[in-house]
Amino acid sequence: MNRSTLPKGSTAALVLILGSTIWSLLGAGLSLFSNAQLLIPWLDRLIPAPWFNYGRLVPASQFLLSYGWLGSGLLGVLLILAPRFSGIAFRYGRLLFGGALLWQLAILGGFTQILLEGSSGLIGLPQTRFVSILLILSFLVLGTGLTRGLGRSWKSGPLLPRLYLLLGLLAFPLGLGSAEVLLRGTSAPGSVQLIAQLLWHSFHHHLWLAPLGLVLVFQLLPSLTGRAVSSLNLGLLAWSATALLGGWLGTVRASDGPIPSWMQSTGVVAGILMAFVAIANGLLIQNLTEGRWEEIRRNVALRFISVGAWSYACAYVLLAFLSLPWIRPVLTFTVAWSAFLEVFHYIFLGSVLTGSVYALLPVSREMGWPNSSALTWHFWSTTLGAAFVVASLILAGSFQGLALSDPGVPISTLASYLRPFLFVVVIAQVAWLVGQVAFTAVLFASLLRLFPAAAPMAVFRNPTVVRPVSVGHLHG
């Protein structure tokens, strides 16, 4: 391929997507091993070293999955997509490439620091301040590039993806920057530090990652199905509600004392209201995918994005359930919350990201995917694996919550309640990892052109011409 024909920003997108794929394998591998340590405590004693400890592997894997896999991957696919919203091409490809490299460096630095020195203990901020600064700097470079997607008149092209992009682009630097200032830049009293941590937790998940995922859902689903969003007003209502409620969802995680009760009540209300937001977006997704089952079955990109889009609705309905006033006291501090994060990270964002890579990478790199059974394996293995993890964690969390609520149940027996479910979780995580390894193999083989491409899935026919998406450029 002639490098000069590649759109600017294509190399940066590739670095972010490849980095994301590698971090996903490492992060999921560490998550699998840490769960195995919980299942078989003897594994903790295998290597008596701090970096091998459960307490370090868990934050390291969460950091890798959140910032490395999802953060890096979503930014990568958005770099391919953003210029096509507005028809404005990137101008400074090398700067974007530098930003993408800096992001990978920050992930590598953060991961190494957590393993070797341990987590900071702050919710959502296990990394050092230096790593956060690297992430913010890199995001400022990449985000400034992504603002191209917001350019020109908003009357042409899709509106909802742009609105979600705007939300995601502002939430990350504002949220992380202010959390860093409040938590590590000043000597805020401990009680305020707790509020700031939960606030960043909300921004991170509900105002940064979720909106970036929804950009892809509301851009690619209409493009791949050839349908427009059925009700823009409903979409706008859901978007406004996400922006207003998203920042309040973290406080629902604190139960009782440490933070003021009115904040917890607001978190509960916001959590329950998010179910309606999810249902509103779910209706739009339903209209986009209804009657397209054959196409969803045939096109792996569409299949992944559809599953991801539906999981978005499921994730927030689950969040609303966990926020219910009579459920919350029982399930707070249990692995039921891990189930929410699992649906959110692995099925919603993970599936949307993977589908977007399948759909958009051929646009960016003039490549195709092999007509390989590895693609089918990838879909079923990752989706079923993640679904089993979620189901097991919900059941485990329910038992754990009931046991914690009954003072007659000794705390030392808690692990034995969790063990059967953890066994299923570990097996399901192996399945997920197998699927992701298959994807990585296909990705690298396709980039290196090791076999002929036979499964075109690109949403844009001509990769070198940057232009806004329309129904006319749907299928490759």
């Binding site: 070293a49 370090r56 702050l122 401990g190 009680s191 305020v192 941590q197 921004f203 003021p260 705390i411």
Partner: protein
């Protein structure tokens, strides 16, 4: 929707979340002050020692929060208080001098917000940190042998060596980090009354 209106709405929503939680939170709980305990004539919550402050960092870096929370829930007949995890619920004032202030979002092990009152002996805490199975065979808590130095036992026994030996001919000397961690755990003692949270 016009871009300027969208931008205003997003900035307004983000700002509202921050101002309402961080700024109002600061105004409401950030200005709390310690109160005088008339029985002891000391202020509560107590200011932790420098060693305990270092221990908080060790607690965070070893990832204890992945299994232990640091907040007791009320009311008086709640499961947490019945279990003996505290005599009252945790309130914002309890976290006044904690830096970093940690909450913990999981309970695979017991809550530790009052562990200093439940387990005040340093020796027991050190043994638990070295290998939790020394005290309880069924414990799933991971061991932390790297927080101890293993030296051959000789005629001279180090004064701060653990009373247990891994093999009979070595002694275990806690490192500075282990001592700091114990000081932190001992500082987690909320057995004092506050105006907003009297003891049961």
């Amino acid at each position: 929707m016009k871009p300027t209106r969208a931008l205003t709405l997003v900035l307004g929503a983000l700002l509202l979340a921050w101002v309402a939680q961080a700024a109002v939170g600061y105004w409401q709980v950030g200005r709390l002050e310690p109160v005088l305990n008339e029985e002891t004539n000391l202020t509560v919550p107590p200011v932790p020692s420098g060693l305990a402050h270092t221990g908080a960092r060790v607690f965070a870096s070893e990832g204890c929060l992945e299994c232990h929370s640091l907040s007791t829930r009320g009311p008086k007949d709640s499961a947490d208080i019945t279990r003996g995890w505290g005599q009252r619920r945790s309130v914002p004032r309890d976290y006044l001098f904690r830096d970093p202030a940690m909450l913990g979002l999981a309970r695979i092990g017991p809550d530790l917000s009052n562990v200093g009152a439940r387990m005040p002996e340093a020796e027991k805490l050190l043994q638990h940190i070295y290998d939790p199975q020394l005290l309880k065979k069924s414990s799933t808590c991971p061991p932390h042998p790297w927080l101890f130095t293993k030296t051959p036992s000789g005629p001279k026994v180090e004064p701060d060596a653990l009373k247990v030996s891994p093999d009979g001919w070595h002694q275990l000397i806690p490192t500075y980090q282990a001592k700091a961690l114990v000081a932190y755990l001992q500082s987690l003692n909320a057995n004092y009354a506050l105006p907003e949270a009297p003891l049961k």
